[in-house]
Protein backbone atom coordinates (compact mmCIF):
# COMPACT_ATOMS: atom_id res chain seq x y z
CA UNK A 1 0.00 0.00 0.00
CA UNK A 2 2.80 2.47 0.87
CA UNK A 3 4.51 1.75 -2.46
CA UNK A 4 1.24 2.28 -4.31
CA UNK A 5 0.65 5.62 -2.58
CA UNK A 6 4.18 6.80 -3.38
CA UNK A 7 3.76 5.82 -7.03
CA UNK A 8 0.33 7.44 -7.17
CA UNK A 9 1.64 10.71 -5.74
CA UNK A 10 4.35 10.83 -8.40
CA UNK A 11 1.77 10.11 -11.10
CA UNK A 12 -0.43 12.93 -9.79
CA UNK A 13 2.52 15.34 -9.81
CA UNK A 14 3.44 14.35 -13.37
CA UNK A 15 -0.03 14.38 -14.88
CA UNK A 16 -1.08 17.66 -13.23
CA UNK A 17 2.33 19.25 -13.79
CA UNK A 18 2.66 20.27 -10.13
CA UNK A 19 6.05 21.87 -10.69
CA UNK A 20 8.49 21.85 -7.79
CA UNK A 21 6.36 19.49 -5.68
CA UNK A 22 7.72 16.20 -4.29
CA UNK A 23 5.68 13.07 -3.41
CA UNK A 24 6.56 13.36 0.30
CA UNK A 25 5.01 16.84 0.39
CA UNK A 26 1.55 15.43 -0.35
CA UNK A 27 -0.25 14.27 2.79
CA UNK A 28 -2.05 10.93 2.35
CA UNK A 29 -5.25 12.24 3.91
CA UNK A 30 -5.21 15.88 2.81
CA UNK A 31 -8.09 16.81 0.49
CA UNK A 32 -7.06 16.96 -3.16
CA UNK A 33 -9.58 19.69 -3.95
CA UNK A 34 -10.22 22.95 -2.10
CA UNK A 35 -7.94 23.56 0.88
CA UNK A 36 -5.47 20.70 0.34
CA UNK A 37 -3.71 20.57 -3.01
CA UNK A 38 -6.12 23.18 -4.39
CA UNK A 39 -7.01 21.21 -7.51
CA UNK A 40 -9.94 22.18 -9.73
CA UNK A 41 -12.53 20.53 -11.97
CA UNK A 42 -10.18 20.07 -14.94
CA UNK A 43 -7.74 18.32 -12.59
CA UNK A 44 -10.52 15.91 -11.58
CA UNK A 45 -10.88 14.93 -15.25
CA UNK A 46 -7.11 14.48 -15.48
CA UNK A 47 -7.17 12.23 -12.39
CA UNK A 48 -9.94 10.10 -13.88
CA UNK A 49 -7.84 9.68 -17.04
CA UNK A 50 -4.86 8.82 -14.83
CA UNK A 51 -6.85 6.00 -13.17
CA UNK A 52 -7.99 4.66 -16.53
CA UNK A 53 -4.57 4.77 -18.19
CA UNK A 54 -2.50 3.40 -15.33
CA UNK A 55 -4.89 1.07 -13.51
CA UNK A 56 -7.63 0.29 -16.05
CA UNK A 57 -10.25 1.84 -13.77
CA UNK A 58 -13.10 3.64 -15.51
CA UNK A 59 -15.25 5.84 -13.27
CA UNK A 60 -18.72 6.16 -14.77
CA UNK A 61 -20.61 7.61 -11.82
CA UNK A 62 -19.67 11.23 -10.94
CA UNK A 63 -20.85 10.86 -7.33
CA UNK A 64 -18.70 7.80 -6.88
CA UNK A 65 -15.81 9.67 -8.51
CA UNK A 66 -16.08 12.47 -5.99
CA UNK A 67 -15.64 9.98 -3.13
CA UNK A 68 -12.73 8.18 -4.81
CA UNK A 69 -10.88 11.42 -5.54
CA UNK A 70 -11.13 12.76 -1.99
CA UNK A 71 -7.47 12.12 -1.09
CA UNK A 72 -4.46 10.02 -2.06
CA UNK A 73 -5.56 7.52 0.62
CA UNK A 74 -9.06 7.06 -0.85
CA UNK A 75 -7.65 6.79 -4.37
CA UNK A 76 -5.09 4.18 -3.33
CA UNK A 77 -7.71 2.12 -1.48
CA UNK A 78 -9.98 2.13 -4.52
CA UNK A 79 -7.10 1.23 -6.85
CA UNK A 80 -6.08 -1.68 -4.64
CA UNK A 81 -9.59 -3.13 -4.79
CA UNK A 82 -10.48 -2.41 -8.42
CA UNK A 83 -7.29 -2.26 -10.47
CA UNK A 84 -7.31 -4.20 -13.75
CA UNK A 85 -3.75 -3.45 -14.82
Amino acid sequence: MEDLKRTLKQQIIDSLNLQGMKPEEIDDNAPLFGDGLGLDSIDSLELMVLLERNYGIKIEDAREGRKILTSVQTMAEYIQQHRKI
Partner: protein, 358 residues
Protein backbone atom coordinates in the same frame (compact mmCIF):
# COMPACT_ATOMS: atom_id res chain seq x y z
CA UNK B 1 -15.24 54.39 -43.51
CA UNK B 2 -12.51 56.21 -41.64
CA UNK B 3 -12.24 55.10 -38.05
CA UNK B 4 -8.95 55.93 -36.37
CA UNK B 5 -7.52 53.39 -33.95
CA UNK B 6 -5.42 55.20 -31.36
CA UNK B 7 -2.74 52.92 -29.92
CA UNK B 8 -2.92 53.66 -26.19
CA UNK B 9 -0.37 50.95 -25.37
CA UNK B 10 1.48 48.12 -27.07
CA UNK B 11 3.21 45.05 -25.68
CA UNK B 12 5.17 42.38 -27.46
CA UNK B 13 6.80 39.12 -26.45
CA UNK B 14 9.14 38.16 -29.27
CA UNK B 15 12.61 36.77 -29.98
CA UNK B 16 13.95 40.28 -29.20
CA UNK B 17 13.89 42.30 -25.97
CA UNK B 18 10.50 43.82 -26.73
CA UNK B 19 8.68 42.99 -23.50
CA UNK B 20 11.04 45.36 -21.74
CA UNK B 21 11.00 47.89 -24.58
CA UNK B 22 13.63 50.10 -22.97
CA UNK B 23 16.15 47.35 -23.70
CA UNK B 24 15.01 46.76 -27.28
CA UNK B 25 18.01 45.70 -29.41
CA UNK B 26 20.30 45.64 -26.36
CA UNK B 27 21.58 43.32 -27.61
CA UNK B 28 20.09 42.09 -30.88
CA UNK B 29 19.19 38.42 -30.36
CA UNK B 30 20.32 36.20 -33.22
CA UNK B 31 20.15 32.53 -34.13
CA UNK B 32 21.97 30.33 -36.64
CA UNK B 33 19.36 27.55 -36.62
CA UNK B 34 16.81 29.26 -38.92
CA UNK B 35 14.52 29.45 -35.85
CA UNK B 36 13.88 32.47 -33.66
CA UNK B 37 12.04 31.58 -30.44
CA UNK B 38 10.48 34.21 -28.19
CA UNK B 39 12.25 35.24 -25.01
CA UNK B 40 10.41 34.32 -21.83
CA UNK B 41 8.88 37.00 -19.62
CA UNK B 42 7.79 36.90 -15.97
CA UNK B 43 4.46 35.11 -16.52
CA UNK B 44 3.71 34.73 -12.81
CA UNK B 45 2.90 38.43 -12.55
CA UNK B 46 -0.42 37.92 -14.32
CA UNK B 47 -1.15 34.18 -14.14
CA UNK B 48 -1.77 32.21 -10.95
CA UNK B 49 0.45 29.20 -10.13
CA UNK B 50 -2.58 26.88 -10.35
CA UNK B 51 -3.41 28.04 -13.88
CA UNK B 52 0.13 28.44 -15.17
CA UNK B 53 1.09 24.78 -14.68
CA UNK B 54 -1.34 23.72 -17.39
CA UNK B 55 -0.38 26.32 -19.95
CA UNK B 56 1.86 26.02 -22.97
CA UNK B 57 4.45 28.70 -23.70
CA UNK B 58 2.31 30.56 -26.26
CA UNK B 59 -0.68 30.71 -23.92
CA UNK B 60 1.47 32.21 -21.19
CA UNK B 61 3.00 34.65 -23.66
CA UNK B 62 -0.32 35.71 -25.17
CA UNK B 63 -1.98 36.23 -21.80
CA UNK B 64 1.01 38.07 -20.32
CA UNK B 65 1.42 40.36 -23.33
CA UNK B 66 -2.32 41.12 -23.32
CA UNK B 67 -2.49 41.83 -19.59
CA UNK B 68 0.61 44.05 -19.62
CA UNK B 69 -0.76 45.94 -22.62
CA UNK B 70 -3.95 46.74 -20.71
CA UNK B 71 -1.99 47.64 -17.58
CA UNK B 72 0.23 50.05 -19.55
CA UNK B 73 -2.90 51.69 -20.98
CA UNK B 74 -4.48 51.96 -17.53
CA UNK B 75 -7.43 49.82 -18.61
CA UNK B 76 -8.65 47.16 -16.17
CA UNK B 77 -11.52 45.76 -18.20
CA UNK B 78 -11.55 46.30 -21.97
CA UNK B 79 -14.83 46.74 -23.85
CA UNK B 80 -13.88 43.94 -26.24
CA UNK B 81 -11.11 41.45 -26.91
CA UNK B 82 -10.28 40.73 -30.56
CA UNK B 83 -7.33 38.56 -31.50
CA UNK B 84 -5.85 37.06 -34.65
CA UNK B 85 -3.90 33.82 -34.79
CA UNK B 86 -3.14 31.55 -37.71
CA UNK B 87 -2.47 28.41 -35.69
CA UNK B 88 -3.48 28.91 -32.06
CA UNK B 89 -1.56 26.87 -29.53
CA UNK B 90 0.34 24.44 -31.73
CA UNK B 91 2.05 22.69 -28.78
CA UNK B 92 -1.26 21.77 -27.17
CA UNK B 93 -2.66 20.60 -30.50
CA UNK B 94 0.40 18.44 -31.12
CA UNK B 95 0.17 16.94 -27.62
CA UNK B 96 -3.50 16.18 -28.07
CA UNK B 97 -3.01 14.59 -31.50
CA UNK B 98 -0.05 12.50 -30.28
CA UNK B 99 -2.18 11.39 -27.34
CA UNK B 100 -4.98 10.36 -29.70
CA UNK B 101 -2.59 8.20 -31.68
CA UNK B 102 -0.77 6.70 -28.70
CA UNK B 103 -3.93 5.99 -26.72
CA UNK B 104 -5.91 4.87 -29.79
CA UNK B 105 -8.49 7.58 -29.09
CA UNK B 106 -9.20 6.23 -25.57
CA UNK B 107 -8.67 7.98 -22.22
CA UNK B 108 -7.65 11.35 -23.62
CA UNK B 109 -6.68 14.11 -21.19
CA UNK B 110 -8.80 17.25 -21.37
CA UNK B 111 -6.10 19.88 -20.93
CA UNK B 112 -4.49 19.52 -24.36
CA UNK B 113 -7.86 19.71 -26.05
CA UNK B 114 -9.13 22.70 -24.07
CA UNK B 115 -5.95 24.76 -24.45
CA UNK B 116 -5.44 23.93 -28.12
CA UNK B 117 -8.54 25.77 -29.26
CA UNK B 118 -7.77 28.98 -31.13
CA UNK B 119 -9.67 31.16 -28.69
CA UNK B 120 -7.92 29.99 -25.50
CA UNK B 121 -5.97 33.23 -25.11
CA UNK B 122 -9.14 35.29 -25.66
CA UNK B 123 -10.97 33.24 -23.04
CA UNK B 124 -8.25 33.55 -20.45
CA UNK B 125 -7.91 37.29 -21.01
CA UNK B 126 -11.67 37.71 -20.68
CA UNK B 127 -11.71 35.77 -17.41
CA UNK B 128 -8.71 37.61 -15.96
CA UNK B 129 -10.10 41.04 -16.87
CA UNK B 130 -13.75 40.13 -16.17
CA UNK B 131 -14.57 41.26 -19.71
CA UNK B 132 -18.04 40.07 -20.70
CA UNK B 133 -18.08 42.14 -23.89
CA UNK B 134 -17.48 41.18 -27.50
CA UNK B 135 -14.86 38.46 -27.80
CA UNK B 136 -13.65 37.34 -31.20
CA UNK B 137 -10.79 35.31 -32.66
CA UNK B 138 -9.78 35.60 -36.32
CA UNK B 139 -8.05 32.57 -37.81
CA UNK B 140 -7.12 33.51 -41.37
CA UNK B 141 -3.46 32.56 -41.82
CA UNK B 142 -1.45 35.55 -43.08
CA UNK B 143 -4.33 38.00 -42.60
CA UNK B 144 -5.39 36.97 -39.08
CA UNK B 145 -4.09 40.12 -37.39
CA UNK B 146 -5.25 42.45 -40.17
CA UNK B 147 -8.81 41.09 -40.04
CA UNK B 148 -8.73 41.57 -36.29
CA UNK B 149 -7.79 45.24 -36.85
CA UNK B 150 -10.59 45.66 -39.38
CA UNK B 151 -13.05 44.26 -36.86
CA UNK B 152 -11.80 46.75 -34.27
CA UNK B 153 -12.40 49.53 -36.82
CA UNK B 154 -15.96 48.33 -37.41
CA UNK B 155 -16.68 48.03 -33.70
CA UNK B 156 -15.33 51.47 -32.87
CA UNK B 157 -17.13 53.02 -35.84
CA UNK B 158 -20.42 51.96 -34.20
CA UNK B 159 -19.42 53.27 -30.77
CA UNK B 160 -21.03 56.41 -29.42
CA UNK B 161 -18.72 56.69 -26.41
CA UNK B 162 -15.08 56.04 -25.60
CA UNK B 163 -14.17 52.40 -25.98
CA UNK B 164 -10.97 50.52 -25.25
CA UNK B 165 -10.37 47.33 -27.16
CA UNK B 166 -7.63 44.81 -26.56
CA UNK B 167 -6.45 43.57 -29.94
CA UNK B 168 -3.49 41.50 -30.97
CA UNK B 169 -2.01 38.51 -32.66
CA UNK B 170 0.08 35.52 -31.68
CA UNK B 171 1.63 32.47 -33.28
CA UNK B 172 3.93 29.78 -32.07
CA UNK B 173 6.91 27.89 -33.47
CA UNK B 174 7.49 24.23 -32.60
CA UNK B 175 10.04 21.72 -33.86
CA UNK B 176 7.36 19.70 -35.68
CA UNK B 177 5.82 22.78 -37.25
CA UNK B 178 9.27 23.87 -38.45
CA UNK B 179 9.94 20.41 -39.92
CA UNK B 180 6.66 20.39 -41.86
CA UNK B 181 7.06 23.90 -43.27
CA UNK B 182 10.72 23.28 -44.00
CA UNK B 183 9.73 20.33 -46.18
CA UNK B 184 7.58 22.60 -48.33
CA UNK B 185 10.44 25.06 -48.77
CA UNK B 186 9.41 27.86 -46.43
CA UNK B 187 12.83 28.16 -44.83
CA UNK B 188 16.39 28.58 -46.11
CA UNK B 189 18.12 25.32 -46.91
CA UNK B 190 21.48 26.61 -45.70
CA UNK B 191 22.53 27.83 -42.25
CA UNK B 192 22.73 31.57 -41.76
CA UNK B 193 22.97 34.16 -39.04
CA UNK B 194 19.38 35.36 -38.59
CA UNK B 195 20.42 39.02 -38.53
CA UNK B 196 21.93 38.63 -42.01
CA UNK B 197 18.65 37.21 -43.40
CA UNK B 198 18.09 39.98 -45.92
CA UNK B 199 21.52 39.58 -47.49
CA UNK B 200 20.40 36.04 -48.46
CA UNK B 201 17.64 37.50 -50.60
CA UNK B 202 18.84 35.66 -53.69
CA UNK B 203 17.75 32.23 -52.35
CA UNK B 204 14.26 30.93 -51.57
CA UNK B 205 12.89 30.62 -48.04
CA UNK B 206 13.06 32.65 -44.87
CA UNK B 207 13.69 31.91 -41.18
CA UNK B 208 11.01 30.78 -38.72
CA UNK B 209 9.79 32.96 -35.89
CA UNK B 210 7.05 33.44 -33.36
CA UNK B 211 5.59 36.10 -31.11
CA UNK B 212 2.64 37.62 -29.28
CA UNK B 213 1.84 41.28 -29.92
CA UNK B 214 -0.98 43.19 -28.26
CA UNK B 215 -2.40 46.70 -28.60
CA UNK B 216 -4.90 48.63 -26.54
CA UNK B 217 -6.87 50.49 -29.20
CA UNK B 218 -9.27 53.32 -28.58
CA UNK B 219 -11.47 55.70 -30.53
CA UNK B 220 -10.18 58.56 -28.40
CA UNK B 221 -6.66 59.92 -28.16
CA UNK B 222 -5.48 59.44 -24.60
CA UNK B 223 -1.72 60.01 -24.76
CA UNK B 224 -1.40 57.83 -27.85
CA UNK B 225 1.75 58.32 -29.90
CA UNK B 226 0.07 57.20 -33.10
CA UNK B 227 -3.11 55.93 -34.71
CA UNK B 228 -3.89 53.34 -37.34
CA UNK B 229 -5.64 55.04 -40.28
CA UNK B 230 -6.04 52.31 -42.88
CA UNK B 231 -5.61 48.57 -43.25
CA UNK B 232 -5.57 46.94 -46.65
CA UNK B 233 -5.09 43.29 -47.59
CA UNK B 234 -4.09 41.85 -50.96
CA UNK B 235 -4.08 38.14 -51.66
CA UNK B 236 -1.23 37.20 -54.05
CA UNK B 237 -1.22 40.54 -55.86
CA UNK B 238 0.89 41.35 -58.89
CA UNK B 239 3.48 44.08 -58.56
CA UNK B 240 1.35 46.67 -60.36
CA UNK B 241 -1.72 45.84 -58.29
CA UNK B 242 0.30 46.35 -55.10
CA UNK B 243 1.68 49.66 -56.33
CA UNK B 244 -1.73 50.99 -57.34
CA UNK B 245 -3.29 49.80 -54.05
CA UNK B 246 -0.66 51.66 -52.06
CA UNK B 247 -1.18 54.80 -54.16
CA UNK B 248 -4.93 54.47 -53.65
CA UNK B 249 -4.54 54.08 -49.90
CA UNK B 250 -2.24 57.12 -49.71
CA UNK B 251 -4.53 59.32 -51.79
CA UNK B 252 -7.58 58.26 -49.70
CA UNK B 253 -5.67 59.70 -46.76
CA UNK B 254 -4.55 62.86 -48.58
CA UNK B 255 -0.95 61.68 -48.83
CA UNK B 256 1.61 61.09 -51.56
CA UNK B 257 4.78 58.98 -51.65
CA UNK B 258 6.80 61.97 -50.48
CA UNK B 259 4.79 62.16 -47.24
CA UNK B 260 5.84 58.70 -46.06
CA UNK B 261 8.68 59.19 -43.59
CA UNK B 262 9.27 55.51 -42.88
CA UNK B 263 8.38 52.30 -44.68
CA UNK B 264 8.32 49.39 -42.21
CA UNK B 265 8.98 46.65 -44.70
CA UNK B 266 8.05 43.07 -43.84
CA UNK B 267 10.37 41.55 -46.43
CA UNK B 268 11.32 38.04 -45.38
CA UNK B 269 14.47 37.35 -47.41
CA UNK B 270 12.70 34.95 -49.79
CA UNK B 271 13.79 35.33 -53.43
CA UNK B 272 10.24 34.42 -54.49
CA UNK B 273 9.05 37.79 -53.13
CA UNK B 274 11.50 39.79 -55.31
CA UNK B 275 8.83 40.70 -57.84
CA UNK B 276 6.84 42.50 -55.11
CA UNK B 277 9.58 43.88 -52.88
CA UNK B 278 11.93 45.33 -55.51
CA UNK B 279 9.33 47.62 -57.16
CA UNK B 280 8.01 48.55 -53.70
CA UNK B 281 11.44 49.74 -52.58
CA UNK B 282 12.22 51.35 -55.94
CA UNK B 283 8.91 53.22 -55.76
CA UNK B 284 9.73 54.85 -52.43
CA UNK B 285 10.44 58.55 -52.35
CA UNK B 286 13.91 59.79 -51.44
CA UNK B 287 12.34 61.11 -48.25
CA UNK B 288 11.44 57.66 -47.01
CA UNK B 289 13.64 55.67 -44.65
CA UNK B 290 13.13 51.93 -45.11
CA UNK B 291 13.35 49.75 -42.01
CA UNK B 292 13.02 45.96 -41.90
CA UNK B 293 12.11 43.64 -39.05
CA UNK B 294 11.95 39.99 -40.08
CA UNK B 295 15.65 39.55 -39.39
CA UNK B 296 14.58 40.20 -35.78
CA UNK B 297 11.21 38.46 -35.60
CA UNK B 298 11.49 35.62 -38.10
CA UNK B 299 8.62 34.83 -40.48
CA UNK B 300 5.20 33.65 -39.30
CA UNK B 301 1.60 34.41 -40.14
CA UNK B 302 1.06 37.21 -37.63
CA UNK B 303 4.56 38.71 -37.93
CA UNK B 304 2.96 42.00 -39.01
CA UNK B 305 2.19 42.37 -35.28
CA UNK B 306 5.93 42.82 -34.72
CA UNK B 307 5.89 45.46 -37.47
CA UNK B 308 3.00 47.28 -35.81
CA UNK B 309 4.67 47.09 -32.39
CA UNK B 310 7.87 48.44 -33.98
CA UNK B 311 5.93 51.26 -35.62
CA UNK B 312 4.46 52.29 -32.26
CA UNK B 313 8.00 52.07 -30.78
CA UNK B 314 9.34 54.42 -33.50
CA UNK B 315 6.57 56.96 -32.84
CA UNK B 316 7.12 56.71 -29.08
CA UNK B 317 10.93 56.97 -29.15
CA UNK B 318 11.06 59.34 -32.14
CA UNK B 319 14.24 57.85 -33.55
CA UNK B 320 15.11 54.94 -35.79
CA UNK B 321 17.69 52.48 -34.40
CA UNK B 322 20.57 52.14 -36.88
CA UNK B 323 20.30 48.32 -36.75
CA UNK B 324 16.92 48.48 -38.49
CA UNK B 325 17.74 50.80 -41.37
CA UNK B 326 17.75 49.21 -44.82
CA UNK B 327 17.90 52.51 -46.64
CA UNK B 328 18.21 55.96 -45.08
CA UNK B 329 15.77 58.58 -46.39
CA UNK B 330 16.01 62.37 -46.32
CA UNK B 331 13.09 63.00 -43.97
CA UNK B 332 14.00 63.46 -40.31
CA UNK B 333 10.35 63.60 -39.19
CA UNK B 334 8.34 60.65 -37.96
CA UNK B 335 4.83 61.62 -38.94
CA UNK B 336 3.59 59.00 -41.39
CA UNK B 337 4.64 55.35 -41.36
CA UNK B 338 3.53 52.77 -43.89
CA UNK B 339 3.79 49.10 -42.92
CA UNK B 340 3.94 46.67 -45.81
CA UNK B 341 4.08 43.03 -44.80
CA UNK B 342 4.68 40.26 -47.32
CA UNK B 343 4.32 36.63 -46.25
CA UNK B 344 5.88 33.58 -47.91
CA UNK B 345 2.48 32.78 -49.41
CA UNK B 346 2.41 36.32 -50.87
CA UNK B 347 -0.32 37.67 -48.64
CA UNK B 348 0.37 41.40 -48.56
CA UNK B 349 -0.92 43.70 -45.84
CA UNK B 350 -0.57 47.48 -45.97
CA UNK B 351 -1.21 49.51 -42.81
CA UNK B 352 -1.00 53.29 -42.61
CA UNK B 353 -0.10 54.68 -39.18
CA UNK B 354 0.10 58.39 -38.46
CA UNK B 355 1.37 60.40 -35.53
CA UNK B 356 -1.33 61.26 -32.99
CA UNK B 357 0.68 64.10 -31.51
CA UNK B 358 0.28 67.67 -32.71
Amino acid sequence: MKQLLYISAACSISPQHTYDAENFLRPVVTSDSSKLYSLDADYSKYISPVAIRRMSRILKQGITAGMKCLEDAGVKTPDAIIIGTARGSVTDMENFLKDMINMQEEALTPTGFIQSTYNSVNGWLAMLTKCTGYNQTFVHRGFSLELCLLDVQLLLAEATETKHILAGGFDELTEEYFTIRNKIGHYKDHPLDSFSLLSHYHTPGSIAGEGAHFFTLSNENKNAACAIYSVKMLQTPGSEELQSSIQGLLSENGLTNEDIDILVCGMNGDSRNHFLIDPLIAGCSGNTTIVTFKQLSGEYDTASGFGLWLTNYLFTHRQVPAELIYKQGASDKIKNILICNVTIANCVAVILVKSARP
